[in-house]
């Protein structure tokens, strides 16, 4: 469960201060599928970085599964990222010089898992996203959709309590984007908590709830009807 209270994030570059988040509060229950939407510069990525424990908020509270993230040091944040958060990025962010299998296994390395176990688990993860036949391929030998599936397998491999996706379909064509969204819906159906950051309404509408950001503030927080998700599920 995610609880955010009056969260602020200020970027300081010398004299210039940019307030990217100006006091944001919301709660996301376990198993929810939430989109965070807003125009460019509204603070979506900043929000995602805080939720993903990549950096600390300037003030306010953030509880992840009851843990007060604001009190943790760098090492503890690394452990949370490793065990509780799965990231999916617009640019895929795979290691270019590693096979699909090695990319997926990376979070397990930092968890200290044995090699044979790592490979076994990563293989199963890749099979789940339909890439059982691409284990030893390098990222440059995979299509965009396949890369994003490797990234999803990597995000899932440590069985995190929160999946964070920042514009996951931004670099994909409509058809492939739909395929990826279908995977997110399946994960949601399996009980994963999914937070999706996007500025495209038609992508945001696959979720069951949309938080609209504007200039670092919540403009609207609405439940939406799931007819679009339902249509994709039937597809």
């Amino acid at each position: 469960m995610i609880v955010v209270e009056d969260l602020r994030k200020v970027y300081k570059n010398g004299e210039i201060e940019v307030e990217a988040l100006k006091g944001v509060s919301f709660t996301i229950e376990d198993g929810e599928f939430v989109s965070i939407m807003g125009p460019s510069g509204s603070g979506k990525s900043t929000m995602m970085h805080v939720l993903g424990c990549l950096h600390q908020a300037t003030s306010g509270k953030y509880f992840l599964d009851g843990e007060d993230i604001g009190t943790l040091n760098d090492n503890q944040l690394a452990i949370i990222r490793n065990e509780k958060v799965g990231f999916i990025f617009q640019q895929f962010n795979l290691l270019a010089r590693s096979s699909a299998l090695r990319n997926v296994a990376l979070p397990l390395v930092y968890r200290g898992m044995k090699r044979s176990q790592r490979q076994e688990k990563s293989r199963i993860m890749l099979e789940k996203v339909g890439l059982g036949h691409r284990l030893d391929h390098w990222p440059n030998e995979l299509s965009g959709g396949q890369k994003q599936r490797v990234a999803i397998a990597r995000a899932l491999v440590n069985d995190p309590s929160l999946l964070l996706a920042d514009e996951p379909t931004g670099n994909l064509d409509t058809k492939t984007g739909k395929d990826i969204m279908k995977i997110f819906l399946e994960l949601h159906d399996q009980g994963h908590t999914v937070v999706l950051v996007t500025h495209e309404p038609h992508i945001a509408e696959y979720a069951e709830r949309i938080i609209h950001l504007r200039d670092g503030e919540i403009e609207k927080d609405e439940q939406i009807n799931t007819s679009k998700a339902e249509a994709l599920r039937q597809d």
Binding site: D74, N75, A78, I79, R81, G112
Partner: protein, 398 residues
Amino acid sequence: MFLAIIRMALTSLKVNKLRTLLSMLGIVIGVGAVIAIISIGSSAQQDVTREIETLGSNIIWVSPSWNLSSADREELFTMEVAAELEALSPSVAQVVPEKTSGGRLTYQGESVDTTIVGTTPGYATINLYQPVAGRFLDQTDIEDLRNTVVLGSDMADEFFSGEEAVGERITISYNNRRSRFTVIGVMEDKGQVFAGNLDAQVYIPITTHLARMSTTNDIDTIYAEGAANAPAAQARQQVDYFFYRYLGDSDDYSIFSQDQILQVLDEVSTTLTLMLGGIAAISLLVGGIGIMNIMLVSVTERTREIGIRKALGAKKRHILAQFLFEALSLSGFGGIIGIGLGWLATYFVTDLGGWEMVVSPIAVGLAFGFALIIGIFFGLYPAIKAARLDPVDSLSYE
């Protein structure tokens, strides 16, 4: 996990083979140079030491100083003093006097100017000098003041060129005095020693020399051979003490010993080797800077990779270990190649010099250890830089 991080480091070195090789080059050359210089140095040193040891065992030689007047010299440096030295010094096995003068040899109308050495039978033993035909001087030659001569190998070649010399009669002239001598022996090739080129001299009984070829009674050099069972320094001390007591002034005579010369030689070559080795070690430092340079470039290039790793849960120390191990591998592999290179260089140079090859394991260990330390030292800063990168900033790095 440690193994996995090592594997990551090796993988990234493997991906960029040419760069890896180039960044190791400084260390390769540095380690190779240190090992080659020290090994070549000690090979040469061992060769020289061995050569000196073949010149004779533990010899001390004493001669009058230049500042001693010829009257004093004549009175003080005599055969009797030589005999007394032998009698009074327990650590001295034998004493051999030497008197030299320039003279002319003539045989069947052919003449050559050479050095005439007057000495005793002990001269052959202390110089480890063997006849190849006939014999060296013996006690009877000395006692009877015989006109017998032993030829150095060059002198024998000069007059007899391979033919039988022993038994032939040869004329020696000195200061317009001429005497006929009988050749009783020809010596082996010995070449240059401290006393000069033994091959180019001829040897006659010192008594004959003093009686017929000298205007004065003093001798030029007194050789003392240290007893085999006494320490080299002890024999030298006794001889020194004898002459100091006898002459009352250490400026009146000069004394040298083989172990002293060996020691000086040893010191000089060790200093030289260390100095050159030190200069080579500086090239190791330069190699370290090369590694740091490459590692810094690598950290910048791989900023995004570092960001990804951090997003997936890598702690600072994981990133630090990965980059540090990369630097360490560079210097380690460079060091191993350098050892091979140094060994090869030593092999070729010692082969060229005809010396026995001595590769000092200490030099190898030191050079390799130093290379590893340099790898850690110069790899640390880039690795810390990598570990400290902010995850968000590095993820958005283009």
